[in-house]
């Protein structure tokens, strides 16, 4: 099935690709998590001026293909002369920066909705009890709402992490040499599907089940009281 000399020769490239995939995943995930916390709070806010812009942001990002977003940022912005002359142009010229920006925005939109959903599921009594004890709004969020919501969000967040990891394959279209790009290069050089895409599929498969495994452990630790079934990976955007 595999042409071993070809696979072995390509393996160092595949591992370099794995490194790029993991770095993309890590920086986008970190950015998305940090941004989603305040955005989810705005999303569930009673104040329309706070919740509407966040809804619009998640709606637009979740309603358009990631590939098109990537092309808009990486290829599209060069259209504008003011952009090319601006001080930040050196950033937008860089595929790494564009990939980070697009993946971060994408995962922020999905994660915000996941976190907002988890916040809304908070039992009303918990909130009332905290208010009756005279806690401030921030105290309520820090001590009551987030500890519960982040726990409830774990299964869906695990799907989001797998989805984002799969979405990083789109970076192969903007010159970043991650796993899928390495596979395409090996394919064009050797015209063998198994040695290129097959090997890459194994890499992604192992990655997926590592992520799922890590989240199963986290759920065992943080959702012990629920002891519910763990869901599998879900589609990317």
């Amino acid at each position: 099935m595999f042409d071993w000399p070809v696979v072995l020769a390509a393996l160092p490239d595949f591992f370099r690709g794995l490194r790029v995939t993991l770095i993309l995943l890590a920086i986008a995930l970190a950015t998305g998590f940090v941004l989603s916390i305040p955005l989810a709070m705005a999303r569930v806010s009673q104040n329309k001026w706070l919740s509407m812009p966040v809804f619009l942001f998640t709606y637009v990002i979740r309603g358009t293909p990631l590939l098109v977003q990537m092309f808009m940022v990486y290829h599209g912005l060069a259209q504008f002369a003011w952009m090319r002359q601006s001080a930040v142009w050196f950033l937008f010229k860089d595929a790494w920066f564009c990939a980070w920006l697009v993946f971060s925005m994408s995962t922020t939109a999905y994660t915000t909705e996941i976190f907002a959903g988890a916040l809304r599921q908070t039992p009303a009594g918990e909130l009332e009890a905290a208010q009756s004890l005279g806690m401030t709004k921030l105290q309520i969020y820090a001590r009551i709402l987030w500890p519960g919501a982040l726990r409830r969000a774990l299964p869906q967040y695990s799907n989001e992490v797998v989805g984002l990891m799969h979405a990083t394959a789109v970076a192969s279209t903007v010159t970043l040499v991650e796993i899928t790009r390495v596979a395409r290069d090996v394919y064009y050089n050797h015209l063998s599907v198994t040695d290129s895409f097959g090997v890459a599929a194994i890499f992604y498969f192992v990655l997926t089940f590592t992520v799922v495994g890590i989240f199963k452990l986290l759920e065992m630790r943080y959702l012990k009281h629920l002891n519910r079934k763990v869901s599998g990976p879900v589609a990317a955007r």
Partner: protein
């Protein structure tokens, strides 16, 4: 002139994007129903086959699967044709794209359909059998009408993901909206204008789908009491 006269070309691309999405959804429904049937069947072999299908597909990015199945299928078919002496077969990327996307999303729909079937009280199916309905009758008269209601949320989600996934078929050489936009972008040197245009069109498809699915949900939930918290 609007979009330098490229608007008809883009709309032509929209037609192929929509046909790919709709036709792959149909293919995915077939694979999904087969998968769900296999997962719920008594046969261990069918159960394993369906498990391997859904686990493998859901563990790998769509883009990679698309490349793997597209090039892999092409080579397999041509090897086969070579052995049979049929000569070189040029595979139509349109049909290949539909089959591959359908096969991929069939795995996701398998889970949606399986859960929807499980949500139907077992007694109803047993009652159907007790009345002497044939298995196909039980499926079409008892399971299917109720299953649709349970499957709509998951189905809607998959449809939206699928419409967006059709953007990826441009990479295997299908002449869809993204492909047309990139051609127009390089011809006019206005990439942002064209990519933004198709982004808006995708957003419109999403919006229309959400409204449509909401109506469908209402239609199939007639007579179901809502729970008020």
């Amino acid at each position: 002139m609007i979009l330098h006269g490229y608007l008809p070309a883009i709309l032509g691309g929209l037609k192929s994007t929509l046909s790919v999405a709709v036709l792959s959804l149909l293919v995915a429904c077939v694979f999904g129903l087969l998968g769900a049937a296999a997962k719920l069947s008594e046969s261990r072999l069918a159960h394993w086959a369906a498990d391997i299908y859904t686990t493998l597909i859901r563990g790998v990015p769509e883009l990679l699967l698309l490349l793997l199945l597209f090039y892999g299928g092409q080579i397999t078919i041509n090897n086969l044709a070579d052995r049979q002496g049929w000569g070189y077969i040029d595979i139509n990327p349109f049909i290949a794209g539909i089959l591959v996307l359908g096969f991929i999303f069939g795995a996701y729909l398998t889970e949606t359909f399986r859960a929807a079937i499980l949500a139907i009280p077992r007694g109803q199916i047993e009652a159907g059998h007790a009345y002497g309905l044939r298995p196909l009758q039980v499926f079409s008269r008892i399971v299917l009408p109720q299953m649709i209601r349970h499957a709509i949320p998951g189905f809607a989600n998959n449809w939206l993901i699928m419409v967006k996934a059709t953007a990826l078929v441009s990479i295997i050489g299908l002449d869809d909206m993204v492909h047309r936009a990139s051609l127009a972008a390089s011809a006019t040197r206005e990439p942002f204008t064209f990519y933004a245009t198709i982004a808006v069109i995708y957003l419109a498809i999403t919006t229309v789908s959400l409204v449509g699915l909401h109506c469908l949900q209402k239609r199939y939930s007639l007579g179901v009491r809502k729970v008020d918290f």
